[in-house]
Subunit: 359 residues, 4 copies
């Protein structure tokens, strides 16, 4: 169960950072969707290491191959298997990792759970696992856009204490992609980038917030009780590496308001039921209300730092470990396509579920 996500649009990811590669099987894609590798690769390029000076320098082209599920450029309704080969396997660079548990990584918990660990590259805990999610998410975004008129976006909202000024109702993809950080507030982005560069030079790392948005979601997606749209989004986001928090609409900030202040009044507008404010974040009672869905995901600072840290080795002795070689000072620009992918996967699944029960 662990490696699948979704009910009607279900993905199964596989692969470690060593071995034959990483990939994903997408089950439940509607037939007759135009689809080639060219629809997938751009999002993988946005996720890729080495794309700019503020992310990890690991060099892999991350070229996707569609192995099944399409015929003459269209989906068949059968499982779409996508595969990305591993290229940059410098296991020797990591030898110390074979016996020492990196602090705030998954090395120790994996070792304890499975009694075996693919230590080169971090195995399944590597961010490389998200390649399959982003590839599948690209298909989900295409379905949402072409069949439902839904646009999914994400962007960097905060780095440490630097907060960008972005309107989730109007922000455009082009603005997000206008800088290497993927923060559409260009003035703040420049400051954030300087902070990240300084931190990288210091061999340290920063965390922050990615905000996700879905616009054009019709009224009625989502299910009451357990599979609320915000619950599925929360699970999706909290399953991303390094995420530590999720909130939606007014979120944690909303708790300082009273009910009177917080409620979103309804008003008719252009023949539609609309809310005057959008503190609900586009979801009420687990179901979309037609307003923009927007939420935030907190990412902790990347755990690998270029300093000596206290730790324990696999013979359960105290020791120290110093990160060396490549390090990722800021996961946020690469997290942006991950957040978009997971958002799209949740939404397309609920779109299909809505068709099934209420279509």
């Amino acid at each position: 169960m662990s490696n699948s996500f979704g009910h009607l649009f279900r993905i199964t990811t596989w692969g470690e950072s060593h071995g034959g590669g990483v990939g994903v099987v997408v089950d439940g894609c509607p037939p007759q969707l135009k689809l080639t590798e060219a629809d997938i690769q751009p999002d993988l390029d946005r996720r890729r290491p080495g794309q700019s000076k503020i992310v990890t320098p690991r060099k892999e082209s991350d070229t996707v191959h569609i192995l099944s599920g399409t015929f003459e450029g269209k989906t068949l309704g059968t499982p779409i298997s996508m595969w990305v080969k591993n290229e940059d396997q410098r296991s020797e660079a990591y030898n110390e990792m074979a016996t020492k548990f990196r602090p705030s990584h998954a090395d120790y918990t994996y070792h304890a759970k499975y009694g075996i660990r693919a230590w080169p590259g971090g195995g399944r805990t590597s961010a490389r696992e998200t390649i399959g999610r982003v590839a599948a998410g690209a298909i989900a975004k295409k379905i949402l856009s072409e069949q439902f008129g839904v646009e999914v976006l994400a962007y960097v909202k905060q780095v440490q204490k630097l907060v960008a000024d972005v309107d989730p109702e109007t922000v455009k993809a082009k603005q997000i992609e206008s800088n290497i950080l993927r923060c559409p507030d260009s003035t703040m982005a420049a400051k954030m980038i300087r902070l990240i560069e300084k931190t990288r030079t210091a061999g340290d790392s920063v965390g922050g917030i990615v905000e996700g948005v879905a616009r054009g979601v019709p009224v009625g997606w989502g299910e009451p009780v357990f599979d609320r749209l915000e619950a599925d989004l929360a699970k999706a986001m909290m399953s991303l590496p390094a995420s530590k928090g999720f909130d939606i609409g007014s979120g944690f900030g909303g708790i300082t308001m009273t009910g009177m202040e917080h409620n979103d009044a309804f008003r008719m507008k252009g023949g539609k039921v609309r809310t005057v404010t959008n503190r609900s974040g586009g979801i009420q009672g687990g179901i979309s209300n037609g307003e923009a869905i927007y939420f935030r995901v907190a990412f902790k600072p990347v755990a690998t730092v270029m300093h000596e840290q206290d730790t324990v080795d696999s013979s359960y002795k105290n020791t120290t470990l110093k990160g060396r070689g490549r390090h990722d000072p800021c996961v946020l620009p690469r997290a942006v396509p991950m957040v978009e992918a997971m958002t799209a996967l949740v939404l397309v699944d609920h779109a299909l579920r809505h068709k099934a029960q209420c279509g």
Copy 2:
């Protein structure tokens, strides 16, 4: 799918606030567990309306009946069906609700999705639905305690801007239950209660934060990738009515630290691998690391307020609606057993999954 939660310890809740009652079927409970209604009722009493002056005055005894799954006081390994009758069905009190959508409730989205709505009492969106969760959670807590030595607790951490001082490593159930708010910091609790009373008198409502804790979880529960322990906890919490945010360990606060500052160093202690700090919140790479698991859930102020608000009716005309009769100034004390229940459900499911794959 919507009304089931869990994989190996799976619950299915049913029922509206009108009709024959509410209930839950628990599938996957291990056999030979001692179980009677007396194990369930106390948590239902903590969830019940009318339990104190700071919660909704609705009067129902919420008496649970076990209809199946036990024999001579022990579980059979077969589904446990539990049922709570509806008593307080004053549908006339709500007549306006039949045609007007309450702001920031689910009335409109349900109407739009299903084309039909059980308007008396709010139907499935009523907090009454959580009775089934709390009843099932009581069983999950019993299994965790008796078979795994795990203790699950929750308490009120914040009301509006008032923040309690509580140590999740040491807080005791008795302290939590020492006041009607379920906030173990008794000095702050008194202030919070005064604030809630004042707000109730003003016909308004407040939000806040419930913190959840699980102590004694062994190393190794949780699964990598999608079903990370924190992802399943996030989904569980964000499926509770009125929840708007979730974070774990350092959470949203952790983003202002650098990697160096944030990492939890490992040290051997008492023959065990321990972390010196616990910013990870007891989970690393989706898997428990043996430290205390703690997280926060943000609840918005209850939407029902005793003032006139702009809204729309079911013939899509602008109108106004004024709450009347009973209102719930603060959901937090009743949310405490809900958070405990959902935490226990997530943990016992992962305990069984761990046994299956790695046992």
Copy 3:
């Protein structure tokens, strides 16, 4: 997982033959379907013990109560909880069953698996568990009939070596219900009933075959590979108590033909693609082809007989056991509504799945 069936139209049954009753929760029913107990009770009456001289004389009215999921006579799209009280709990009649394992019953395997057993009435292995299936199946049949024009029928095809002559393409419900055996070949039915009566008098039991039919299923339901329509039907039928075999279309009989003889030629007829013969049984490659779906289910003779038999007791000593009191000489007439119910449950689930992916 054990007690749920279906993906999008999912039922969860609960209850033993002792205790508070038996029931079912139906999740995923479309909203706005007219539904009251009167739609359910007739099929429960067809399933009920004591309905005629050729079935078990146990007396229970099996009156169904809808506890949730409807409002003013229509479904809400929320879970439908249905409950049937236990009435005839003569546990003293079965006292020997507490310590002796009945041959070819589930007593021993349950005891070994769970270490505890609700011995009065056979617990969960009792045919009483099928009440929930039949109640849910009545809803499924209603949806199929009203929303898709699909008719589901079943009837007794064979008792021991007596084989009825029935055309699955044209048989009518009225013909099936024209005798207490539910065999539409009235001449053969009379012979079968005499055989059953003779067997009952001898304290023995007979087995036979129930044939199931679904007419009007559109082309395209079913999914390739694992969730083929015939695979899901097979699982559904083989999950019924006492079933030992399933075949579809030409079935076991088809293996004596060659490919040339067996193939169903396609021909256009009335503007539709039709098959000249229907050895495929209405399904090709796991997907319905528009022809009548028909299949057979083999039921073994009921295990409870009024004679002394060798067995073992729960202290693992050889002993003997003699059935006494009520016995069921032939499960077939009561199996008919069970087969219909399970067929309808499979079909409505696939109807919804088809809408989701290809609708």
Copy 4:
């Protein structure tokens, strides 16, 4: 959902007979199992076309590659991705298939369901899809053998009217593999092979029965109600291409007995509860009873024959179609490893489920 099988040991197959290949992802395999391609390839070789004169002559080496989930020759507990390249893509040989629906194939139903069809090689309906199942089944058989002492076997029991004499309690793998038909009754096997050769020369095909056996299954696997062991086996077998029937133990033959004749008496033997006869087929009430599990699967004659047949084309006009080139006179010898694989997949899933709830 369609392309996954199993709950705790879950496989997802993908791939068509055109395109990049076929494969499977195995999720839930226990860690630390020794595993290399050498454990998988032998079963793929038994499933492969071109292995003898009595099966389809299509030439592919079907070489398996493990892409993930192992490290230094042991499983990691992470998903195992296995891939077999397509080699023999002679799509030109099938050109007529692009527009004509082959009788008793899935061409028409797929076309109607999806509106698009990977006609070269039959797409997902090709027997090539079973490569993933057989590869996953090889892992399941290894787990069953090494961790539970369970042996899974299958063999050809019947070809048309020729029935082999085989004792499921004692038959050995070596006997099964002693001839190209995989029928351990060597005298009857010779007759069967002659019949198949004659049929092949006539451009026709035969059907028959494969019998499956599992020995050493402990008491207690399987779940009551829907996920009975026999129900899951039935689904597994009826999901295999060309299967038309399933029965277990006494099966369809048992219906001519009375209850007295059919019941399996219990007797203590060697300190264990045993049944004197085994008409139950090793399963009672859905749960294994410690006796050998044995069942039969009916396979229809392969639909592709070298004769002209009436059919319809994709513009819905009557036409004829004549098979040409390679044809498969008898699917049975290749179905043997498929039946073994599906049996092992069902059993290992239930073994893990049993550990979770009752372990």
